[in-house]
Amino acid sequence: MDSKYTIETYKTDVVIVGSEGAGATAAIELAKHNLDVIIVTKGNGVGRSGATITGEADLAVDSNSLYHRFNMKVGTDPEDSKENFFHDILAGGKYVNQQDIVQAHVEDAPDRFADLLEWGLKPLFVTKMSGHSYPRGVIVSAPEMIRIYRKKLKETKTKVLNNIFIHELLYQNGVCSGVFGLNMVSGNFITIEAKAVLLATGGGMRLYPITTAPEELTGDGTAMAFRAVVELMDMEFPMFLPGCFPWPEAVKGVNTPFKLASAGMISGHMLNKHGERFMAKWDPIKMEKSTRDITAVAMWTEIMENRGGPHGGVFVSLKHLPDNVIDYIMEWLPPSYLKKYGGFDMSKFLPDLKRDAVESVPASHFFNGGIKIDIWCRTNMSGLYAAGEVTAGLHGANRLSGNAFTDMIVWGHRAAQAIAEDIKKGEIYQTPLDKKQVEYYVTEALAGYSQQGDEKMQSVRDDVQDTAWKHAGIVRDDSLLKEGLDKLQNLKERYKRIRLTCNEKKYNKEFIRYLETKNMIANLECILVAAENRHESRGSHYRKDFPNTDNIKWFKNQVIIFKDGEVELKLEDPVVTTEEPDRIIEKYGY
């Protein structure tokens, strides 16, 4: 990269950042409103980035609607209701969900499921997933959903720009006028002017070194919103899936150990290096079948207190079962359960389970927090909307199984409705781009080629992940978090001394990762600051020094605002429409 640069410019009514579940759903709905829509995706085509394709995947809809409206009589239970679904979401989220958002979610879920069926989705079966009091998990194929989105986007003639990494918002006087980023293929910068910007960028799981999520999920949406003084919320609640391989390298983050012990089909035991079933200390009744947040905390505690295995995990074992039972399990289990994972033949990675245990570690799996939205996906910046995992409010402190898919279809659609309505009413319109802001973003992006210093990009990125894992991981306390905040300051300084070495224009991974690392640092800062301030444990936020859930002081959401280079926290009461938790202090766990 030299000092000469080119900017590719586009203009449209609506730009959607993100091409998968939430973004594609929004584009399909917007096509009904005669608006120009551009989707920009970080992926090499639709279905080649984001977490949608990786879903295994259950889509949660209340069982009553499945039974009556969709005539799905097998595996469902008509006793269920939207009210029950609503209640389970709150109980799972430990009541810091926004109840108006949850209400809209359970109301809209069947309608959006109906859309998918109309577009050709074939549900496989329905099952009861953890945290749900009724069977609501409609098992669907993620590749099938991607095929549907591709087909619908083609039918609606939606313009999709591939390999575009949007990393800044363009705005003036609190009004959004477009987005700025990098065309990774040409190496040129890109600006897209729009009346409305919809962020559907997913979570920031790649902040952590072990994750179930794809490589490019570096929290870009939350980071660019944060820098543009858009309010974020619930950032202290990143969620971890308790049971992934820490090793070998090829299958790091694959969740087979979770299926062996915690998912429900098989009764594997989780052991520490002393051979103890440590879950007895956390949930002596449900043991390995406890909720995902508690199991992750328990595993993490063993690992961090040096009772884990040689590859940094705990052990999952079937050895308490007779050999012929293990043989029979392998016979009746569907092959997709253990022997296959995505494109992996897992039998190559599993030991003889009659003899050996596998190692297992919690992996970064989902961001419950993100951009604060209202029930129509509006943010505190006019013209800026957000939908799907990049938002906060629906899941509270912990997401229920199946609600990631329902989140993207319900909220992608609601965002589109709101955008169409707001444009029609003239409430949002094209405002001019701030040319100085564009110049500033270009200079900032290229700083890595001119600034003084000898830091290597990769070494800073590795240390950001390491700090996230150790200091903003699953088990937190005051000293860990304060140390993490010190390390963060150091990482921010080091980031300014990075000297990029690769001058290629086309698909320059060093440059792409340099820009991503900035976003990862912003996410890390938000998580650390919010976690340090929350003096209690709740859902996926666990503090060793405040191990109780405090519904007297902490029935609150923490809203994050970036002001004058500092992170400010604002405590707000969750929106309550129907249910409140008992105002007591409870023990975290069972």
């Binding site: 992926g43 090499n44 085509g45 639709v46 279905g47 080649r48 980035s49 984001g50 394709i53 990786t54 993620a142 590749p143 991607i146 095929r147 591709r150 083609k154 591939n162 390999n163 293929v185 794809p214 490589e215 490019e216 070998p248 390298e249 090829a250 299958v251 983050g253 694959v254 994972y341 995505g342 494109g343 992996f344 190559k348 990675f349 990009m457 990769q458 590795d462 070495t501 690769c502 290629e504 086309k506 698909y507 320059n508 991974k509 060093e510």
Partner: protein, 109 residues
């Protein structure tokens, strides 16, 4: 990263674009059950940050990391490195640079 007794493996990669290309060989420590994706990451992170390749899901679902391994089309993320190998870009698509191709024209998988 590697000690004296770590076995090494040679990964030869076709670099450049449709107009100009050359083969470059990298020697990396062979880890037990590492994928081609892990090998490419290692090269990009610690040996040569200019190496271009695409990766997303890492579990064989997005199909974005397709490369040609010793002439056969394979996914980088689910193919295990067992010995020396030659990697070339997926010949169905125009090359952007090195192993990165432009999949825009073919959305079906």
């Amino acid at each position: 990263m590697s000690s004296d007794n770590t076995p090494m493996v040679k990964i030869t990669i076709k670099r450049g674009d449709s107009f100009q290309s050359k083969y470059q060989t990298y020697e990396i420590p062979l880890q037990e059950k590492m994928s081609i994706f892990n090998a490419l990451e290692y090269i990009n992170s610690y040996l040569d940050p200019s190496l271009a390749f695409y990766t997303s899901c890492k579990i064989g679902k997005c199909l974005g990391c397709t490369v040609e391994v010793n002439g056969k089309r394979r996914l980088a993320c689910t193919t295990i490195v067992e010995g020396d190998m030659t990697l070339e870009p997926d010949s169905r698509f125009p090359v952007v640079r090195d192993l990165m191709v432009d999949m825009s024209d073919q959305e079906s998988s």
